[in-house]
């Protein structure tokens, strides 16, 4: 058996089932709704390794004044901490971790997820303005040999709901209808 067969088989064995997706996306949506109720960007995301949440994130751009603190980036940091605490190798954990997020990761986050060798991303709605998994650029599957590994996407889970939350948020943020675009 060649190394490729090996890879394909192991990806298969931990690829999320419909049941996994329902369960974890429902947590991600709870996080997004909570964020919306607190006037924050309604994006929820979690990283799951062996049926355990090893990272969670919400947008922290405003409090850190660091425009790269998207929910996914915050969650990645938690995964790294979790690995350190558990004494596990970052790469071997990330290679078996799934990201569940209510909105398609942006171009930056998609590249970051490649760089940590994350294999699967499950997301709700498209991110028309910044999406890095096909909406603006397809970073997830592009040929970028020096930027980690490509990842698979499962999209569209409760997409309308995710869009509705974003619309509600933008209306609160900016009643004039001008989209405040720095926030996710």
């Amino acid at each position: 058996m060649g190394p490729e067969d090996c890879e394909a088989e192991s990806l298969e064995s931990f690829f999320p089932t419909d049941e996994d997706i329902d369960k974890w996306m429902s947590s991600a949506f709870d996080m997004a709704r909570e964020a919306l109720e607190n006037g924050e960007v309604p994006v929820g995301c979690l990283m799951v390794y062996k049926d355990e949440v090893v990272g969670k994130g919400r947008n922290e751009v405003n409090e850190t004044k660091n425009a790269t603190r998207h929910a996914e980036m915050v969650a990645v940091d938690q995964v790294l901490d979790w690995c350190r605490c558990s004494g596990l190798d970052v790469r071997s954990v990330c290679e078996r971790t799934v990201l569940y997020v209510t909105v398609e990761p942006c171009i930056m986050c998609a590249a970051a997820l490649r760089l940590i060798n994350l294999p699967v991303v499950v997301y709700g709605c498209r991110n028309e303005r910044f999406g890095g998994c096909g909406s603006v650029l397809d970073v997830s599957s592009a040929h970028l040999p020096q930027t980690g590994t490509t990842f698979k996407c499962v999209s569209g889970h409760r997409a309308e709901e995710a869009v509705e939350m974003l619309k509600t948020f933008y209306k609160q943020e900016n009643p004039n209808g001008h989209l405040n675009s720095h926030l996710f």
């Binding site: 922290e60 405003n62 409090e63 850190t64 004044k65 660091n66 425009a67 790269t68 603190r69 980036m73 990645v76 940091d77 790294l80 970052v90 942006c106 171009i107 930056m108 998609a110 590249a111 970051a112 760089l115 940590i116 303005r129 910044f130 890095g132 603006v136 650029l137 970073v139 592009a142 970028l144 040999p145 020096q146 930027t147 675009s181 720095h182």
Partner: protein
């Protein structure tokens, strides 16, 4: 600035040893696309203005206003001095046998003074740069609204010697940081964020991915800029070459955005100097941070500001910025070369 200039003269670190070229958008740098059209000789010059007027109303060149209707004949001794563009081939899609009579319906344009039509190629889009204009004009006369700054920039002459000396100094800081990072076993990449109005270094960083796979030099700098404004979320204190200048009352007084500390886009108006072209993550992080301009030394294989993508000029994104490459290109390139040497050495 003067004494520093003298010190650098004659070495590879001379500001005359490099040229900064703009990294233009795809639209500005692509080849000239051509489409086919019918032209016809004007055998009777006196008919020219009538023909142009009537052709303009019969076959208006909608969306092709850059194409001139009439051209002077190239070859000397040509029996007719002028040629006129009758229509685009796409204007008459179903025409089987083309003659001047079939192209011009009897109630539209009187064919008096026109010879038989022939096919020419004309530029499909208005030229955006002088090189595109020169190429387009070889096919058919084309009008060009020249952006003089782009022309000067493409010649590598946008920056004055004084500006180049300043750019040189900032990139030297990035190089120094890159080497410090390399000493610590990181990738040899350094970056510097500058407030060009105040001529002040805001942050200096180097690659730290030995500690964190996403701490590329640019990401480190973005967080250090946030720290300079009292926020940020990482501590790079164990890396002496990663530093920031706190924003004080003194340094912020000239900032027009009234209160720099509270502006949502932390890198607005700032320049970034980085030894090599940023990757996709870093390039998009610069979009999110609303960077002013980016200067890099050398291209990288997966680079996102010119090589694989041009994220700074990407359609649909809400922020665009200028990018220049080639600043201190040789020493920036050498950072990678010596990396390879090290690997070879350690392999022996």
């Amino acid at each position: 600035m003067e004494p520093q200039m003298k010190r650098w003269k004659g070495s590879v670190y001379d500001a005359d040893s490099w040229v900064a070229y703009p990294v233009l958008s795809d639209e500005q740098s692509q080849d000239v696309e051509l489409i086919e059209a019918f032209a016809a000789p004007i055998v009777n010059k006196k008919e020219t203005s009538r023909l142009v007027r009537e052709l303009n109303s019969l076959y208006p060149l909608n969306g092709f206003q850059h194409i001139k209707r009439v051209r002077a004949c190239k070859e000397k001794g040509s029996p007719h001095p002028l040629e006129v563009l009758v229509c685009l081939i796409s204007d008459v899609p179903d025409m089987k046998e083309v003659s001047i009579d079939s192209l011009l319906p009897s109630d539209g344009v009187k064919p008096d003074g026109l010879g038989e039509p022939f096919v020419v190629k004309v530029p499909a889009r208005p030229p955006l740069t002088r090189p595109q204009f020169e190429l387009a004009s070889q096919h058919w006369p084309t009008s060009f609204h020249e952006d003089k700054l782009v022309t000067v920039a493409l010649r590598g002459e946008l920056f004055t010697p004084t500006q180049k000396a300043t750019m040189h100094m900032y990139m030297m800081s990035a190089l120094t940081a890159a080497k410090a990072g390399k000493e610590l076993g990181m990738e040899a990449v350094g970056a510097v964020v500058v407030d060009p109005e105040m001529e002040r270094i805001v942050a200096v960083g180097h690659d730290c991915r030995g500690d964190h796979p996403l701490h590329h030099a640019v990401m480190v700098c973005i967080d250090l800029v946030a720290r300079s404004q009292g926020s940020g979320c990482f501590c790079f204190d164990s890396y002496p070459a990663c530093r920031f200048t706190p924003l004080t009352a003194n340094t912020s007084q000239n900032v027009s955005d009234s209160d720099a500390g509270s502006r949502p886009y932390i890198c607005t108006g700032y320049d970034l100097y980085v030894t090599r072209e940023p990757c996709v993550m870093c390039a998009m992080a610069l979009v999110h941070s609303r960077i002013g301009r980016v200067f890099y030394g050398t291209a990288s294989l997966d680079g996102a500001l010119g090589t694989k993508y041009k994220i700074h000029s990407q359609k649909d994104l809400n922020h665009r910025f200028e990018v220049y490459k080639g600043v201190l290109s040789k020493p920036c390139e050498d950072l990678n070369i010596s990396d390879d040497h090290d690997k070879k050495d350690s392999g022996q």
